[in-house]
């Protein structure tokens, strides 16, 4: 094509080349590829095989810890030996773990770097903290970097399965969209490792993080001989729950009666509960997210408030939980719709800002609006 084109249009080749280059840019590998590029740099770093470590390739190895329960152990630890099989000196400059639950240190003087002559080797000690992780398969990895190469020169993997000490069924509860003013109930079943039961087989107490959601154990029927570690609960959404979207977590209470092992096993277990409660007013959006706000700068967001025709907007009492947060309702047309202008003061302190606005109606209904911001210096 180019030969024909250059013969017929001797000066026309340049636009053709440019056009082809543009098309090539459109179809560039970064835009369409599904096959990942190289995962590691082959610089001659080798992970030494042992009875517990199986290298998949010379520079990638897996330690499979099998099954573990938080009631038996909270840590998985393993040593890997890394050898320089290249013909030049390599400097291991850092170890990068995939998760905050995983730490890795080199068996060197400073723990973070090691100079390896050809044939030389060093050790890496990897620890996975299982506390706080949910049950199921665990895949954690540590990347080993050497000076002068942006890709990891070796990958150390720790895999296995964390068996559940507690399971919730269902794992998340939703009341769906419900009307205010009436109680609503759902059932939750928990299955606990029998070692989590306290003295005389007493089960730990399940609590809700939201005061509008209550939890009560359902007594097993008389004569029932089911497994003692399974417990059903009635989860109740209170009749006076605030309007709007509410969400909470069901978690086991910390108690001095529980051993540290049991407390640790219970600490990561939770089930989410949510409900959308309809009443005489709605607001959209239902939360105020200021996002990142620079300290010393005021921020504002606008919400649209709509009431049923019977609601007088002027009768709504707005209160703020924080002195740095204010809100003003501006009526619109039609009369039962208004703009709620929410303002975050320039004097808010740096860091996390969490608060809420409460809108109270004369009939006793309340609408709570969570507010969040991150104030940066």
């Amino acid at each position: 094509v180019c030969g024909w084109y250059s013969t017929r249009r001797p000066y026309g080749l340049i636009p053709l080349i440019v056009t082809v280059a543009i098309c090539a840019g459109w179809c560039s590998p970064a835009a369409t590829q599904n096959v990942p590029p190289q995962l590691t740099a082959d610089v001659g770093l080798t992970i030494v095989a042992s009875d517990r470590i199986e290298p998949a390739t010379p520079n990638q190895a897996v330690y499979d810890f099998g099954k573990a329960s938080l009631l038996d152990q909270t840590m998985v630890e393993q040593d890997f030996t890394i050898r320089n099989d290249s013909k030049s000196q390599l400097t291991v400059s850092r170890l990068q773990s995939s998760c905050g639950c995983t730490t890795a240190i080199l068996r060197s003087s400073d723990g973070t770097s090691a100079v390896l002559a050809p044939g030389g080797q060093t050790g890496a000690h990897v620890t996975v903290n299982l506390a706080g992780l949910h049950a199921g398969p665990i895949h954690k990895l540590v990347e080993v970097y050497v000076e002068g190469n942006p890709l990891p020169a070796a990958i150390l993997k720790i895999e296995g399965e964390l068996t559940p000490a507690v399971t919730f069924s269902p794992s998340a509860l939703s009341f769906g969209r419900v009307q205010a003013g009436a109680e609503h109930h759902l059932t939750l079943t928990t299955t606990l490792d029998s070692r989590l039961a306290g003295p005389r087989g007493r089960m730990p107490t399940l609590l809700s993080s939201d005061p509008s959601i209550r939890v009560r154990p359902i007594p097993a029927p008389a004569g029932a001989s089911g497994p003692a570690r399974t417990q059903a609960y009635e989860v109740t959404l209170a009749a006076n729950a605030p309007l709007g979207f509410i969400t909470g977590q069901l978690e086991f209470a910390a108690s001095r009666d529980l051993s540290s092992v049991v407390s640790r096993a219970l600490s990561g277990a939770s089930a989410a509960v949510s409900a959308q409660i309809s009443g005489d007013i709605t607001v959209q959006p239902q939360v105020v997210a200021f996002g990142a706000v620079q300290q010393g700068h005021e921020a504002s967001r606008q919400l649209i408030l709509a009431g049923s025709p019977a609601v007088q907007l002027e009768s709504i009492v707005i209160t703020s939980e924080s002195a740095q947060l204010s809100a003003k309702l501006e009526p619109m047309s039609p009369a039962h719709v208004g703009k709620l202008n929410v303002r975050l003061s320039a004097h808010a302190a740096a860091g996390l800002f969490r608060s809420q606005l409460a809108l109270a109606l004369p009939n006793g209904q309340r609408l709570l609006i969570p507010v969040s911001a991150y104030i940066t210096r």
């Binding site: 199921g136 239902q286 997210a289 996002g291």
Partner: protein, 173 residues
């Protein structure tokens, strides 16, 4: 000849790949959800996408809970949330779904061998987030000193993500 040159000049401004490295096009991938259905990033073009890389540790759960509050509160109606879970998608249930993420706004995909996480997105450390605009260009990722994974509070990462979404699609409330 003139016509070809003119066409070439007209085509130049619409070259899709942005030159700035932080505004690169997000690499495409195909992964499966918990039902085994395959999802391709390209099919989400046309609206902003928030792409999370999560493993289910406490840092990841905290970020997912914050995002869930905004999703359910109606703040994120103009974006699609994709969670790439470090493992098989079915195991994300107890870890990520339980954080309260809105099922109708979230797609959870499994990346069992971490190939997409590591090789395509260079995001081995969790929790990591990428904001993609409607054209698939990366507009934000938390790889700065103050919003780095494992170090920054979840609310800061979420707030920066939201700010990038608002820049990409100003309709966000």
């Amino acid at each position: 000849m003139k016509l070809i040159a003119l066409l070439t000049l007209l085509l130049l401004p619409i070259q899709p790949a942005a030159a700035h490295p932080s505004h690169r096009r997000a690499p495409n991938f195909t992964l499966r959800d918990r039902a085994g259905k395959t999802h391709t990033l390209l099919s989400y073009r046309g609206r902003p996408v928030t792409l999370f890389f999560l493993c289910g540790c406490t840092h990841c759960t905290e970020l997912a809970r914050q995002w869930a509050e905004w999703q359910n509160g109606g703040v994120l109606v103009h974006t699609t949330t994709i969670v790439i879970f470090a493992g098989e998608a079915q195991y994300a249930d107890g870890r990520i779904s339980a954080s309260g993420l809105a099922t109708n706004q979230t797609t959870i995909l499994g990346d069992p061998d971490l190939r997409v996480t590591r090789a395509l997105y260079h995001a081995p450390t969790c929790p990591r987030v990428f904001v993609l605009d409607a054209h698939g260009i990366v507009r934000y990722t938390n790889n700065h000193t103050d919003d780095a994974p494992q170090k920054a509070p979840a609310l800061l990462i979420a707030s920066r993500t939201l700010a990038a979404l608002r820049r990409s699609a100003p309709k966000h409330p």
